[in-house]
Symmetry: C2
Subunit: 84 residues, 2 copies
């Protein structure tokens, strides 16, 4: 695997797993008042379209990264709605 691909995989891992601390924080604080609902909805729709894009291109890295990111962000959105 070349250096550029490894760089892309590290980038994808960081942006994907960055949402775990947000998920835990929202769960622990039982509050997401400072988190924008419009941001969460827009971001989730965008990630969903990225997923469809990845499936259309049969591009596994795009499918995986966006599938996992969507999973985390749906939970964050659900917590946001639950605790408001």
């Amino acid at each position: 695997m070349d250096y550029i691909t490894i760089l892309g995989l590290i980038a994808a891992s960081l942006t994907t797993f960055s949402f775990i601390p947000q998920m835990i924080k929202t769960w622990q604080r039982k509050s997401a008042k400072d988190v924008s609902l419009v941001m969460l909805i827009t971001f989730n729709i965008g990630i969903f379209l990225w997923l469809i894009y990845g499936i259309s291109l049969q591009a596994l890295p795009i499918i995986l990264a966006n599938g996992v990111t969507l999973f985390f962000n749906i939970i964050i959105l659900w917590l946001k709605i639950k605790y408001r």
Copy 2:
């Protein structure tokens, strides 16, 4: 331009511009206590690596989307640190 490319551009626009409402909300509330600092730092590093990845591949859509996303998220991180 084919449908898949248009889908990708819509996806990129949504995930990029979703951070504008978060930026405005943090600015207005003067608070980002519910926003995870670890998430913001990890996400910013990840987006920075995506930008380097895009530059390495000379892929303009990746450079543009991640350049703009990084700009918004550095401001959100700065507001988070400023108001804590």
